[in-house]
Amino acid sequence: MSEVFLGMPTITRRTLVKGSAAIVGTSVVASNFLFKSLDGVAIAQETTASGPVEDFVATTCWIGKQDCGMIARRIDGRVVKFDGNPTNPRNVGTLCPKGQGQIQAMYDPNRVKWPLVRTNEKGVSGEWRRATWDEALDLVAEKVNEVRARDPKMVLWQKGRSKAKDFYDDAFVKSTGISKLGHGAFCSDAGYRALEYTIGTHAVLHPDFRYCNYMLSWGWNITNAGGNKFCWLTWPRHMVKARDRGMKIAHLDPRLRSAGPFADTWLPIRPGTDLAMALALCHELIRQDYLDRPYLTKYTNAPFLIKADGTVARVTVGEGDEAEDVGLVWDEASGAAVPFGETDDPVLEGEFVLDGEKVKTAFQLFIEHVADATPEWAADITGLTAEQISSVASEFGRQAQIGSTLVVDGVEVPYRPVGIMAYHMAQQELGFQTARAMTMVPMLVGAIGAAGGQLSDFTWKIYKNYAKYEKLTVEDPPYDFLLNNSKFFPINTGSPAVVAGVMNDPERYGVEDLPEVAILHMVNPLNSFPSQPEYLRSYLKFKFVAVISPWLSETADYFADVVLPAATIEKYEGPISATDQYIDAVTLRIPPMEPLFESRGEIDIYMDLCERMGTLYGEEGYLAVVNKELKLDDTPFVLPLDSKPEVRHIFDQWAKSQGIDEGIEYFEDPQKGVYVKGPVSPNKIYGYVADPPFGGAMHRLYGESLLDAQQQMKAKGAEKIYWQDYTAFPTWRAPTMDASPAEYEFYLLSYHQIEHKQSRTSFIPILAELAPGAHLDINPEAAARLGISEGDSVRVESHNAVTGETRRLTTTATMLDSIRPDTVAMPHHFGMWTHPQNEAQGPSANEIYFTGEGYLANTGDQSFHVKVKVTKGGDA
């Protein structure tokens, strides 16, 4: 009703046809993008003389990964609802169940209400006394500084998710000089490392949904979880639009549940065999001659001449400081090897003689490498049929339309409307090389960075690891506790599981100095990461553990000395990207209420902590790093280095530095809230037309430095289990778990349900009601053979093929036809115990996964695969 919203126009979606050219707010965005935003104008303040006061605040979701824009509706200052912010390109006025349900989390009286100090021993459930912020912060500062004075690296800052990197990872960690550990080893880092190595991007794989016609959804949990870079919501929005255009999806996953009804073809692949599948696709693309030769010769190292020892034949070009070693390629016209770049048309395939030595092009070696990777060969390994594999390859090659171009916003771009979406499936023992092999599939058809083709990061700015990986260094011990440059993991993700292994047995890994103090930021390793026994031992070794979290995590319960209560959404945080990849935008998290109880925003907490540690002020201090990261240096908005600002003021300065005259008020305004910069240029999206193309990275089909690392590792006495996957091309081998005895007949997977976010939501009642607890999905055919029916209590026992150790849990069987009969699966959100809602939710699969050798990739990333046996019975 228009009279409710004083002075506001009341166009809504219901009264306006989709696609009408109504422009509200920013005018740079196409009208159909504003489809949802038309609701956004019906937001204003209603004030009546006697009734409650209704108002609205723009903010940003906190519960998930991708930080969707929200509008909080308030009654007398009390938030009664979160809705999507229509002006945010990322979610365009929509929210997922978690976004809606987090209102219960905000009000949850089971949050940590005030600082807690432990009063009992560690390693068991905590007993606590209430402390003041002053006491708690003084204690943390004292313990941290005690260790920092000796060696700052022995203080470990461990994060689960960091929602204001500039203030946490950068300002806090850099200004204090301490060590940092992330969660990527349990997420998709094997894929990140593979892409950094292969094409230089800091990301995994996603297609250009705007133009893609054929997508391999490779282990993508389409209807339940995130994807490369974004959380869940944005990708499905892109996907349904692409399907409206007619995009087809081939879904490779042991479970169909992930795709729901969105798989045009389901290929129920056996867990852990994706590398073989990718090699077979490469084999078929080569056999059917679906090759983009101009791409392969111009932008990849495929034409490089490789010597018998596996090294690239090189020549020094230039002189003095400008001298550099350049790979040689074969020039057909001159019949000689020339430095790469000196011929427009190097030979892609063949064997030649160079200085009396036989050399082959890298591509020739690749052809030979995949010569035996026939669909029939892969069928045996993957459990698919040769016809299925061959037909996917044919379709991928045919649909790639090699040689075609498309004009996008006036820019002519190579057009290859095929791509892969892959994310967490990289977390398998062969994950790094699997992601590399998968990347080679779109490489062969020239789809990397093409319109409709294979995208990765949202930028073609090359990540620092690309250059670092040109030559891998394997040093002698002693190593740091992350095992950087070690003979174990020369490419190293920084894995909490590896650190736990090192802390439990430092001698084995040649490590002398172990971290002594830990600060845990929004992370719950004991519950969330494989595997619990390792953490139960390693966290006890910390002399002091401070936890910053809104809830008492299980890790805090067992190991925290001090718990500092963080606010949930009620805080300033950012800056937060609001892009959907095609439209550039930025926003902030704005507190829709004051922080509840005695909780505080993390930026406040870190500034106070730094003040006490003596690291807040001065040229090297926290504030100086904030100035640098927010690019406030050399602007009128630079923060003084000698006084502690309000967090709101920092963001006010930042907003003004961005050219937003209203400052922070722009972001607090429910009609704005998001600063939309406009469409992203094709030159930023598509690698071919980036300047320089692909950010200047030569795509590494051939992994010379991987092979070199293998040789260095061998020379330093590393065992085969560490070096075996350091090969120039991805090379199939059976995963270690396959050596478990035959009675461990099932592969166990764990998966994400849309109602939950890792272990951050399972205690939110409104979400727990919809996805209440642990269960084991099992195919009815397999279940019948074992005498198991729906709802039966079952015992799941895992086996470690390296150590022989077994682990068990008990849960409830759920019949699911849409899962391979040799595979069972569990949701991964449960197994917690500190919140009353956790009661009877059942266990986490992480209790029976293994970490360590055989269950880590060659990059230290965790595998979420293990062989298990399932028997009826047990106490559910």
């Binding site: 009264t15 997922c96 009601e769």
Partner: protein
């Protein structure tokens, strides 16, 4: 004349239950009551299986069996198509629940405050200064208001023990010219709501451009909810991932 209806596009629905959750927060429904429920189904045997989703709000039937059986006129159909329950009139006889073929009616067995996710103590004394003791803390004052020309308490005002409640198409939002909460939040725009008497509305366009079907068309209830894509549910479907409560 305005005539409200809803389209559920199963070609877009991800089965995420964002609609379910948005409805529960907006309408403050108690545990176990799903005015908007999303079924998840599978059918067939490995490897020839299919999965499907089915959001199911009240169908707001033009020939609503629940209205006919209500002995006190509490359940009624408005001129704009909304089928609503007058909380001040309902006597909790549950005839509507029996008459409805869609299972969308919920009887309030408990005191609503006790049924409001009481594993959490919303009366916690440290929460009082923020919420003033309201349960749930996100209590929506609009639900107690009188709505429509009839000025009846229809917006989920039935959160009282012993009476019936169901989806209202969010009458309290519709009267402010907003979409129902489920439609507003749907991440993939699978839900469309609006006036089908006006040919210019998005929903009218949707209905013109797509083939639709309705739940239990043979029952003659003439629902106001139209499905696009997918197929009507059959006995071949097996429900998976049921919520904790029976719905």
């Amino acid at each position: 004349m305005t005539k409200y209806a809803m389209v559920v596009d199963l070609n877009r629905c991800q089965g995420c239950r964002g609609c379910t959750t948005a409805c529960k927060v907006e309408n403050n429904t108690v545990e176990g009551n799903f005015w908007m429920h999303v079924f998840r189904f599978e059918q067939g045997s490995f490897p020839d299986t299919e999965m499907s989703f089915l959001p199911r709000p009240c169908q707001h039937c033009d020939n609503a069996p629940c209205v006919k059986v209500c002995p006190v006129g509490a359940r009624f159909k408005r001129e704009d198509g909304l089928v609503l329950t007058d909380a001040d009139r309902c006597i909790g006889c549950r005839y509507c629940e029996l008459a409805c073929p869609y299972g969308v009616n919920y009887f309030n067995w408990q005191d609503p405050e006790k049924a409001q996710y009481s594993v959490v103590d919303w009366k916690d004394s440290d929460l009082q200064p923020v919420t003033d003791g309201v349960v749930p803390p996100y209590k929506n004052p609009d639900l107690d208001e009188l709505w429509g020309e009839e000025q009846r308490r229809t917006a989920g005002g039935g959160h009282a023990k012993g009476i019936m409640e169901k989806c209202t198409f969010c009458v309290q939002r519709v009267e402010k010219d907003l979409d129902p909460a489920c439609v507003e939040t749907c991440p993939t725009d699978a839900l469309v709501f609006g006036d089908i008497d006006d040919p210019g509305t998005p929903i009218s366009l949707y209905l013109r451009e797509n083939r639709t079907w309705q739940l239990l068309e043979e029952a003659g209830t003439r629902p106001s909810v139209y499905y696009v894509g997918g197929t009507p549910p059959s006995s071949e479907l097996k429900e998976i991932e049921r919520p904790k409560a029976t719905v």
